[in-house]
Symmetry: D2
Subunit: 426 residues, 4 copies
Amino acid sequence: MNLPRSKPAYGVSDALTAPDAPLQQRFNAVRAQSEHLVQALSVEDCALQSMPDASPLKWHLAHTTWFFETFVLEAAITGYQPFHAEFRSLFNSYYVGVGPRHPRPERGLLSRPSLDEILAYRRHVNGRIAALLNAGAPAWCALIELGVQHEQQHQELILTDLKHLFSRNPLAPAYAEAAPAAAHAPALQRWQALPDGIRRVGHQGEGFCFDNELPRHRVFLDAFEIATRPVSNAEYAVFMADGGYDRHELWLSEGWDVKNAQGWEAPLYWQRAGDAWRAFTLHGLRAPAADAPVCHVSFFEADAYARWAGARLPTEAEWESFAATQQVDGHFVEDGAFEPRAATDAAATQVFGDVWEWTRSAYEPYPGYRAAAGAVGEYNGKLMSNQYVLRGGSCATPRAHIRASYRNFFPAAARWQFSGIRLARA
Amino acid sequence: MNLPRSKPAYGVSDALTAPDAPLQQRFNAVRAQSEHLVQALSVEDCALQSMPDASPLKWHLAHTTWFFETFVLEAAITGYQPFHAEFRSLFNSYYVGVGPRHPRPERGLLSRPSLDEILAYRRHVNGRIAALLNAGAPAWCALIELGVQHEQQHQELILTDLKHLFSRNPLAPAYAEAAPAAAHAPALQRWQALPDGIRRVGHQGEGFCFDNELPRHRVFLDAFEIATRPVSNAEYAVFMADGGYDRHELWLSEGWDVKNAQGWEAPLYWQRAGDAWRAFTLHGLRAPAADAPVCHVSFFEADAYARWAGARLPTEAEWESFAATQQVDGHFVEDGAFEPRAATDAAATQVFGDVWEWTRSAYEPYPGYRAAAGAVGEYNGKLMSNQYVLRGGSCATPRAHIRASYRNFFPAAARWQFSGIRLARA
Amino acid sequence: MNLPRSKPAYGVSDALTAPDAPLQQRFNAVRAQSEHLVQALSVEDCALQSMPDASPLKWHLAHTTWFFETFVLEAAITGYQPFHAEFRSLFNSYYVGVGPRHPRPERGLLSRPSLDEILAYRRHVNGRIAALLNAGAPAWCALIELGVQHEQQHQELILTDLKHLFSRNPLAPAYAEAAPAAAHAPALQRWQALPDGIRRVGHQGEGFCFDNELPRHRVFLDAFEIATRPVSNAEYAVFMADGGYDRHELWLSEGWDVKNAQGWEAPLYWQRAGDAWRAFTLHGLRAPAADAPVCHVSFFEADAYARWAGARLPTEAEWESFAATQQVDGHFVEDGAFEPRAATDAAATQVFGDVWEWTRSAYEPYPGYRAAAGAVGEYNGKLMSNQYVLRGGSCATPRAHIRASYRNFFPAAARWQFSGIRLARA
Amino acid sequence: MNLPRSKPAYGVSDALTAPDAPLQQRFNAVRAQSEHLVQALSVEDCALQSMPDASPLKWHLAHTTWFFETFVLEAAITGYQPFHAEFRSLFNSYYVGVGPRHPRPERGLLSRPSLDEILAYRRHVNGRIAALLNAGAPAWCALIELGVQHEQQHQELILTDLKHLFSRNPLAPAYAEAAPAAAHAPALQRWQALPDGIRRVGHQGEGFCFDNELPRHRVFLDAFEIATRPVSNAEYAVFMADGGYDRHELWLSEGWDVKNAQGWEAPLYWQRAGDAWRAFTLHGLRAPAADAPVCHVSFFEADAYARWAGARLPTEAEWESFAATQQVDGHFVEDGAFEPRAATDAAATQVFGDVWEWTRSAYEPYPGYRAAAGAVGEYNGKLMSNQYVLRGGSCATPRAHIRASYRNFFPAAARWQFSGIRLARA
């Protein structure tokens, strides 16, 4: 089956940001892409905060800039005068080592600086970073690279946080026109078997990775099987119809309590519409596409679904061992049509680029893990408690940001990310 | 002492809105004044909500419009098509009788409708109301009058809510340039004695009043004395220096607990600046003017101050009996210079127009009180529990909205209104 | 109708504690009565705390003793050695002037001192007080009198707190055998009219009263009518059947929110039993007696019922003006049979002794009110905010503790007291 | 060094409960031991609940009995009549499959049934189980064994929950007389190195284990070193003195927030006494013994200490690989003197029996884990989220309950267990 490619859902300029492109080109492209993401939005859309976990979009635009200013410009340029003295704490997310931070739940209280001022802040810092790169300052490339990767992470958050904000508005605004639904047959779910043995897990090669992907190390895995694609909306609907949300024996105890306390009876953003369901998406309210991967489920729901299906979630080592052998070949656009990236393979296993896939693995340091020195070392390591690892990447993840060793992580009850389910079994 | 009048702090066009002006003129002027209040602000300033008690400014602009649409246009015009179907619940504040309401703490989640759309909504409704008035529809005048008064209440809230929002921003934005400080001698506080006897309390005459000001009725008052002006910042500072916030015997038990839980040690918006205090105002951070009335204190602080001073707060009947005899002759601009309205009387008693003055009276219905029929009847009566009456009016109150029988009310711990203290004694 | 008197429900020895009995006799009788109330209970029954508002019974036994020790013995006896050094803070309820207090919600964490130790504490203090009285120490009589009255208040709380504790136990324990139901015709509700005019309100005469009942003062009352008996269970059931709990227009806004948040659909302690209701009482689970006064309703429910009935709650001045003319002539035992005290009057108006009756009056100081000096002055005055006055007395109130000027007070949402409804109208 | 053995701290009759003793003997001994633990306590001590995480002691006595009645007697005896119909839900802890459960935070609201009734309940169930065992009913032995192990777990909780309750009492009651301090030299901390390779982890052999200890499986471990004894109070005091609680870079982000929110500045139960510290213990308030293992620290504190010490916590696989080679040879009595069990080895490594040792491993299922069928299957598996594994055993753990494969687990912020720290390094 050879499907025509629709244009990228959210303007991702993949070629310009490919991992092997020159750093300056990627810096420029990524910085431009962040602003592209909010181009169709109003100033008000960019200013609001819908919950403490989410941030105003303009905060993301400022914070990613703060990252470059604080970790690169302040270190590289003697006597650097910050763009604005207060921004150092206003746009510090969680780096205690940098100094005070404006409280996270209060990010939505800042009508000033305006979006325009933040865009000016971006231009200012872009210019100084460009000058640094032009001057040939290899000492700072690693930190600039980190800043680029960091900004790509926030590009996904821009979309997830916007989606949450819009979902709370009874007017149900749409971020983008609906992507055209592609006609294609649903992929059959198969089980792929992997034998037991020692595997190597963690990043390898020269390319960029975060510190939490290192060191590459050995793990022993028992033999297991893993599904060739994520669980679909249609499959998840069967679980729901079978009383999945009402059968305690399927749930972890903590999940059962959270579900009851928060009244979950479907994935986040699903609403009853008479006898059917509609899901709020970045394209507005739509009927969930049967073949699209189920999305916006928590770890607890993923775990319950797996138990119901007589399976389990994979560990992250299992996932990575499996994924390392897959091509990156396609993705679903949000809640919608399948968009193959490698047109030659219609039996795509969708490992990358549809939904983040919950693993059963708590987010812990790899054996021999060392955090970077200084405040940058707070990037990953200090978050290693009570979170679960997700693998893969979603329709909102910048294409160049996806790799087999990437470890995303969120608390078990989080649902506002594009998170789905892949099954494994013993 | 004959002081030059500074121009009104916040653009209040007193003449146009005087109570005896024609309704249509007042309607136009009041509607224009609401928009005037936000003219110097950004779209973002108007969109944010800083706490559940406060609302985004654009919500105020929409809700006051909703009031006219719902209570006047829907009733007066057969087959009236609302400007937007969703606005009926989005901008309903607390009228259960009208139908569902968007939750108050979520007013700050609405980036849509935009401020521009809300201004269009205002123009639309203005036009229909004007047509109604032109057509000579006396049946609706009472409700339009109520809507005008209602909008004036929200004009004060626009300023109090904006002040709260700006106060939460580390950039400490100023709403307006500082008013010039007027040089004048502090008014001497005197005690005015009133004898015991039966008084009449409540609104009298033909002019507009809210239902809670009626019926005019008799009360018996023991003889009492009441201060000729509110407590000043300088006087309050003595209370603070005398350990006022640390001496439990001065406080109501509930006030003591609230104070400790919230860490009060000065009026709201005061911050330590070395050994001195600065107060956040709509003109930015300033040293509190010694002779200005202390402002942004709760009922509990007012009550504690009065006890410390060997006095007490007046009851609302005492206040009204006293006030009914006073001229409306001057006011302080916010936290600042005294601006007399009646230049002939330098010993102004400042009953009206500086700060709302806490009384010791819980907000209860007058004997024989009857709420209006229908949803409009929810305006006042259903709020009569666990609130305290404030009397007078503040620097943010539209001049035409001030009268001796007016009953403002807030919970005992509220501090974000322009609320101050007047003493009484047995 | 001449009914035989059943024996007092809870062992109240009325004669011994009559207000005109000698102080020492009353002291002895009241102290004995507190212990009598817990005689049939287990040590465990006396140790638990079911909510922060309620206290363990043994805490009541200790705290009333602490009152005598702290305010009388420590003041009267030079070099007095306290029974136990820690008891001074452990059993201090809210007297900041006395020093630290063990936190109220943690009263149920004290397995030590044991009930036996507390009874020993009582004996010790009883002996010292007796010695003081024998020695003829008139200077302390007023404080001992206050202590006696204070202990009578706690006797009622012993019953209300025990009822709450038992109600939370799925075993539904009974405190006492059910009182025999008396056969009698329901009293007809009539309206008694009082003309307008100046009344005197507040305690008069030589007998004991609390400081909040003073000074006696004048109030002006409009003409009004007041019901001759409280609202019955049968009448309240009609309100419930008429959707009383679902009609927002009947409720104060705050009451509506509390009702929804807490899921009220009947008085406290009522549970559905199929199509009927049963109420948990100190005699176990019983069908509510149709003619008994409805009990365990909040101010909000009382207010809503009155509005539904086309009436209102009386002010406390109205209540007192009416009550002052009534005989104290009967009471209902808990949730049960009517027990007349003055057999000659079968049309008893039940002003006293059945349920505490919510008034519409917030609890405020009387004109000219002065709290006592020192820590004892914290008894009443500092609680005068956000509470409503109840008048009368309940089946759990010691008989000698009931008088027309008595001002009981609780927050508007409180339901665990024996609180009911009397109607008034303009 | 040959130390005299003090008598067991809490009456543990080790011989009778040894794993290889006959089941009936162990059943009898364990059941008797639970009652022995509360023998010196008052009825009130057994009735109170100090926090939702802890339970009243009498609840433990009843719940362990309920376990035998529900899972053994109800299954084994046709037409079995429960001792009391309500106990089925009153004493159900978290087994949703069994039916409704009385809410955990309300266990302290049950003054009935009395302790005496619960002891009668125990005798009743003991008799029926004994009859079953006498009748030779091998089918039920596995469940009875599970019940015995379950009761041993609750014996530890009886001590931890009592300690918490007593710690909240200003009277600081002691559970037992202080154990005599043994004079001995502190053990030197050494590092034991283990090479890399595949290890086998999980229970082996015929003896009892919980389902979460299975299946035994292979893991690959890098080479590592592990400390030969837990961190001592003296060592922990150096961390405290070095600002350990104030240096954010030592803490996990979540731990830092919890620490700040709860005001931690030392292990739980430590209180400042002038310049020194005292710790509340089951023997009363004492100075922490310098050489005793630090106790009552959370995972977050353990993790921060390890980072400060330039080390890390071991994984549970590392711990088990190390521990499997150690003798069980001694333990500390609570917060106190070292009591060797194997007198021949004074350099005991204290792997077992002093404090539970936090690992860095989240509590997850082993590869191939299968929960038991039915409600018993809720014992372990459904708790596998957001908890950390502790290994070893504490001074409060029944001796026979300790084994190398045992997986204890608690949330990262829990501190009321006897939990300490063992270091590892790469």
